[in-house]
Symmetry: C2
Subunit: 404 residues, 2 copies
């Protein structure tokens, strides 16, 4: 008999992550996976990080091993501030909270803003762990369609015109989004900020992929644009991370937020984990201050560009009649859909038999799901694996069509 624990409502009968359910197939021998959302460990700058690790060995025990300040080490915040400045993001260290990955930044916003029954707006499709966070905080999530042309402002404005309940925030990944790969055009960024000011709508800009650009011109972040629009900087929270440009194992992210929001997120982090590991903060700060990121980042970007180009070419070669997709200008993901209303979860069953994997789009919807959609990550497989993986995808698709 199961003891009758009295869990909070969202945890009483929680749904696990469908993506995590796929993990078990990853260990299938010879599997080629487009499913992961992880960066490629083969591209990590292990030499640069080892040098940073050696450099911190001479630090004092009180700096390295003691509790640190909840806000994060001033030296790391200065290094991150310099990193952001090189991308045109002007943020003083005092505007920044060091977080244990950008996931924790989002979580601090959930803690300080969301009560059960509150509403928040997210793009459709959306990063699944953010949507899951909102669900488990007891929030109602409403979606706003997004595609290669940007977000659907009619839908967004209709949510806002509805008035009550006032949504607590709008969450988006404006640059090389997970899962869609899309980048919000400049005019839309401006319009979104105008809407934020008019409706007193907090915009959560999650930007873990912004530095992974293969093609096209860099666009200013919402955070940057907001500095030049009266009142807008009060309504933008910017989340970022070293996970995709250095390594996730550091668990170093950052939040830029207006003072009243930042102050409360510091309190939320205080009760969450007191501080992010000072040891890892020092490694990150040595790595950044040594200029290692500037020296290494192009290695990651060049590899992802090549993998993306290979995947695009292979999809056009092998699946032109079966699969529609858009080509991203950066990041780690291609989003697309099987034509003719073919169901992505059902094709996946055939794909797993053919030793290739992707994530069905259903995992990335909070409403109005497109069952034909799917996400392909090109970050992990090599160029050779990508070619073979797409040939397997075609066989899986044909097998599904034949079986159907």
């Amino acid at each position: 008999m199961n003891p009758a624990y009295d869990f909070a409502a969202p945890f009483q009968d929680p749904k696990g992550s469908a993506i995590r359910e796929l993990f078990k197939y990853l260990s299938q021998p010879g599997m080629i996976s487009f499913a992961g959302g992880y960066p490629s460990p083969a591209l990590f700058d292990t030499a640069g990080l080892n040098a940073a690790m050696v450099a911190v060995q001479s630090a004092s025990a009180a700096d390295l091993l003691q509790y640190g300040s909840t806000e994060g080490r001033p030296q790391l915040r200065a290094a991150l501030s310099a990193l952001l400045a090189r991308r045109g993001i002007a943020a003083a260290p005092e505007q920044m909270l060091v977080t244990s990955g950008s996931q924790q930044g989002f979580d601090m916003l959930l803690r300080t803003l969301i009560e059960p029954g509150d509403t928040a707006i997210m793009t459709r499709p959306v990063y699944s762990a953010a949507a899951q966070g909102l669900r488990l905080a007891g929030a109602r999530v409403v979606g706003v369609a997004t595609d290669g042309a940007g977000i659907d402002f009619d839908e967004l404005e209709s949510h806002l015109a509805a008035g009550k309940p006032h949504p607590k925030f709008f969450y988006c990944v404006p640059t090389f989004a997970n899962p869609s790969g899309d980048t919000m055009p400049l005019a839309q960024r401006q319009r979104l900020l105008e809407l934020a000011v008019r409706h007193r709508l907090l915009i959560v800009e999650d930007d873990p992929y912004g530095q992974l650009r293969f093609s096209g011109e860099p666009l200013p972040t919402l955070f940057t644009l907001a500095q030049d629009m009266p009142g807008a900087s009060d309504w933008v929270v910017h989340l970022s991370s070293l996970s995709k440009i250095v390594a996730p194992g550091l668990r170093i992210g950052m939040m830029l937020a207006p003072p009243e929001v930042l102050k409360r997120c510091v309190m939320a982090k205080q009760i969450s984990d007191l501080c992010t590991s000072p040891w890892m903060q020092m490694v990150a700060e040595h790595y950044l201050n040594a200029g290692a990121l500037e020296r290494h980042l192009h290695v990651i970007v060049d590899a992802y560009r090549k993998r993306c180009d290979t995947l695009v070419a292979a999809l056009r070669e092998e699946l032109a009649e079966a699969f529609d997709f858009s080509v991203p200008q950066g990041g780690m993901f291609i989003w697309g859909e099987w034509k003719h209303g073919v169901d992505a979860a059902r094709v996946l069953e055939h794909a797993i038999k053919a030793n290739v994997m992707y994530v069905p789009g259903m995992s990335f919807y909070t409403d109005r799901a497109n069952p034909s959609a799917l996400r392909l990550s090109f970050a992990m497989p090599t160029v050779d694996e990508i070619g073979e993986g797409v040939r397997r995808l075609r066989r899986a698709y044909e097998s599904y069509m034949g079986a159907g």
Copy 2:
């Protein structure tokens, strides 16, 4: 004008921590502080930790730098399981969640159990960051008195007899408590577990100090005792940490919990920070597996014993007429009160002028506070500083009495 953010109710006008307000005085030249809750960095095993850091340099990038599993590395969970086993705590790695300090373990319980308006029971006095966590989760906290003789069962049973609302859990630090230094006697531990089973009351046993014993015989943890009492193991969550026995900078803690609780806490951690740094996990696992903790722990325990003895002797010498306190058998804290109803916050003003600090007890109460109480930590000051610090305390007390 302040933008009208719509924060969650507990964050609308949150009270900062009174303890953190004291931080600014720590940098006063020559200050002797009994105020901190931090372990002494001079006692950290920097050689052992450096060896562990060097050892992990040969690890693969995928192990060290990639995202890890939310549950924690199996190798670290095995090492922690062995560490617990040496203390008589039999817990399989599958019963364990690696957390970013024991603070995060408590936070995962808040996430999965507490909704605004819920009730939880804590000892009075209680660890302030746990109480703050409950407040910021919107919970109502009810206290149960605790002193050298243990917890007040009449008060606890009266809360439980009240029935509705059923308290979500009872939080305590049964061994060398923060702030009281008290250890719950064996008979009380048994009785608490019987109560837990009878009332279906989850017991949260926070045990960061359990290995810091100077005197007396080790007592079994609530987790251990529950294994031998029918039904009891369903109602005990055990939180622990390497922060006080290795170093806080690792940010490595652990939770042992019944399966249904653990499963949900894993989901809560997933949305909180995805995983604890695998790099720090590997350092911890190398440190533990090398036997370094066994070799070094006595250095910490011996130093704390000596500091505690020194503080006890000095308090008896200098402040016998003014200050009542109990002598702990381990941990980092002495709890006491000024006699004659003297206010601890007001004496502190004189103490800061005399260049010595402590934490007024008010920070550790959620109800029915004793304004004369205060906490002295002996972990950080050296033996010489302790003697001088207590002489300053006496001068501060005399100055207060003279001024009053």
